[in-house]
Amino acid sequence: MNRKIAPPIIDAVDFKLSLKPYEFSSLNNGVPVYSITAGAQEVIQLELVFYAGNWYEKSKGIAAATNSLLKNGTTNRTAFQINEAFEYYGSYCNRSCYNETSVISLHCLTKHLDKLLPVLNDMLLNSIFPDEELEIYKQNSKQRLRVNLQKCEFVAGRLIDSYLYGEAHPYGTYSGMEDIDSLNTADLKAFYKNYYLNGSLAIFVAGSVPANLTAILNEHFGALQLSKPDYSIRQLAILPADERKFRIENDPKAVQGAIRIASLFPNRHHPDFKKIMVLNNVFGGFFGSRLMSNIREEKGYTYGIYSYLQNHMQQSAWLISTEAGKDVCEATIEEIYKEMKLLREEPIEAEELQLVRNYMIGGILGELDGPFQIISKWKNIILNDLEPSYFYESVDAIKTTSAEELMELANKYLVPEKFYELVVY
């Protein structure tokens, strides 16, 4: 045995990947239900996706506050009783608010599902948004914001989005203390009425799914005044900043700077999107990427550096993000541009491209482990209004995008003039 010689491998690009199809049904009111039955554990995940993100709010913070306070009181239950109802059965009911959508999710042992759906029904039908609960929410949100504003990476994340999209756009907006102060229950109730009571909903279920799923969901959600969502992508004009370079001092004692380099990029419907995922991986998408190899593993400027495409529906952006020692921030930025230049000027060598392809395919294979991961792939396709073949086309793009095409794409997109540059320290 010679330990210097690697054992033979099968190239991951030769694997056949398949995404398990979902089961589909519609509730009596037209609400679509997508489900995946898989996995050995007797657990289930239910996600209620409402079109009630910050896209729809009239002033800042209303969508997030409404979403959060859905758990804080109904005509039948206090906040404490709602929490206890979920927690008694060891289940988790979480809320999250995004730009277009807002989600209420439930994770529980399947055997307890029937006891928990009535509580969700109550939240969707009878929420009352008590003044006292909103006051606590406002106070605690402000406290959290105070702590976050001291973190350079938090401030950098907010600012870079505002440069890309403009502060008036749902993707670029952020809340200040005064926005939190001006939240009031009347606005929340109106938002609840428009976007939850009379809103549009899609349901995603995964795990050990009961055979009579549609009947159970119909019982609790099928009679609500809800409709099927229109998945077509909404468009709102963006207003990017004119200035491109920003250096912001946030904390005089900072020992690191939060670096964000970002450029607008089309959404997933653009023909370049799938191929760009390959280029992004070469550039900064994983631990073996060029940025990581150079800036962490060669120079030791940072604990980690990544590039990624933002997960937005309408309009995306390509970002490079890192926290680097204060004295090496400018050197780090210089290296980032150097890596862009290399990708524009020299084709990626066959060996490196093969590594990245195999790594990406292996990664997808790993991501298909378990029902929650499978439904999340489908949810992405459905909510972004993509063709069902999107998954397979993405796999094809990984297998076939050539070094020449990647160099062309680098020349089209990895151009420093297109990028915003920000350091917060």
Binding site: A12, V43, Y88, L109, Q139, V147, G325, Q354
Partner: protein, 415 residues
């Protein structure tokens, strides 16, 4: 029920196999029985720095990551005060690549000077990112020193100071490797789409020839029983006052550990938990408050930490916490509350076991504790906890002489 098989190789390497044919992947998890608690007090942060160096090339293979990525795999590692765990996941067809890579770095590292130089810097940036450049980032540095007087849990995994990391030499690296990184101090778990026989053959081929090395015998100073309350106050550029209270609890394998674990769930961990309901919602003294324990192998600590609502007197807030603890000590909890935290534990375990990767690392961790089958037996240990156990332990744990308190005050220079 999680099925597994175990065998021990002649060189002392313990091997566990968990077969799951529903996944196309395989996980290879190597746990080394060494953590920050095994470090020289003058050279802390070493176990973790060493973890970084394990990716800097081994005796026959110049780089670790690339061959694994070519095989469609990915990997990571973590270090705690108790252990160091390395794991990779790759398509099952390419399993041998993982055996090749993991066995070579168990055999010997390349001990590259360049790798040490770079990783020292990387770890210093990690230190800054997580423990210096963040509000409240240094709190655990202070708390550990307050709570532990003798036991090496008194320093953080990242190290007691940046200087210890900056001063690490290649000689230190070699000595550490020879002391801790050998088959008799390691546990290998292979999980996923494999056959038992295949694992045995691969183990014989790749790990069999590695010399056993010397078994490291741990002999750590025991933390003496705390006999009076401890208190520390610091003031810093943070926006809000915060309070941290710690109490010594039990080793991970002690039956009373399970009681302590459930007590932390009674007090916090959800919107219906006692501290949240009483102190955030009703009394409005805190904007958030949590109770948890560190889950360490040797006797660990229970922690309550919270951030105060601006304008609240910290002594009043502290008293309110104590009042909740006294209520627990006097009245105990209801049958329903006990059922609730047991249900929560059952569900949490089911969710945790969903991925092959989690099952692999849990098996390794339980084997380190002495019995891999704890993965199947632990739920019963939680189910066996009684109302009386909770009452008794809440009186013992929350004794004021067992308590260390840190007031982390805002000097109001920010916001």
């Amino acid at each position: 029920m999680i099925q597994f098989e175990k065998f021990t190789m002649e060189n002392g390497l313990r091997v566990l196999t968990h077969v799951d044919k529903s996944t196309p992947m395989v996980v290879v998890n190597v746990l080394y029985d060494v953590g920050a608690r095994d470090e020289n007090p003058e050279k802390t942060g070493f176990a973790h720095l060493f973890e970084h160096l394990m990716f800097g090339g081994s005796v026959n293979i110049p780089v670790y990551d690339e061959p694994l990525q070519v095989a469609g795999g990915e990997n990571n590692a973590y270090t705690t005060n108790d252990l160091t765990n390395y794991y990779c996941q790759l398509p099952a067809d390419n399993i041998e690549t993982a055996f090749w890579l993991e066995s070579d770095r168990m055999l010997s590292l390349a001990f590259s000077k360049k790798s040490l130089e770079v990783q020292r810097k990387v770890v210093c940036e990690e230190f800054k990112e997580h423990y210096i450049n963040k509000p409240y980032g240094d709190v655990w540095h202070k708390l550990r020193e307050l709570v532990y007087t003798k036991h090496p849990y008194k320093w953080m995994t990242i190290g007691a100071s940046l200087k210890h990391i900056e001063d690490a030499t290649l000689e230190d690296v070699k000595a550490f490797f020879h002391k801790h990184y050998n088959p008799s101090n390691a546990i290998l778990v292979v999980a996923g789409n494999v056959e038992q026989e295949q694992v045995k053959a691969l183990c014989e081929k790749w790990f069999g020839p590695i010399p056993a090395g010397e078994k490291y015998n741990r002999n750590l100073p025991v933390e003496p029983k705390q006999d009076s309350p401890r208190f520390m106050e610091v003031s810093s550029d943070v926006p809000l006052d915060a309070i941290y209270k710690c109490w010594h609890i039990y080793p991970r394998t002690d039956d009373r550990y399970y009681v302590a674990d459930l007590i932390s769930d009674i007090l916090s961990g959800g919107g219906s938990s006692r501290l949240f309901q009483s102190l955030v919602k009703e009394k409005k003294l805190f904007s958030n408050i949590e109770c948890y324990h560190l889950g360490s192998t040797d006797a660990g600590i229970m922690v309550i930490e919270g951030k105060l609502v601006k304008g609240t007197d910290i002594k009043e807030a502290d008293k309110a916490i104590q009042a909740e603890l006294v209520r627990l000590q006097k009245e105990g909890i209801s049958e329903t509350e006990l059922e609730k935290v047991k249900n929560k534990t059952e569900a949490a375990m089911a969710f945790e076991d969903m991925t092959v990767m989690n099952r692999a690392s849990s098996l390794a961790m339980y084997e380190l504790l002495g019995d891999a089958d704890l993965i199947n037996k632990e739920l019963n240990k939680y189910q066996a906890v009684t109302l009386d156990n909770i009452l008794e332990q809440s009186r013992i744990i929350f004794d004021e002489n067992n308590c260390s308190t840190l007031y982390y005050l805002s000097n109001n220079k920010v916001n």
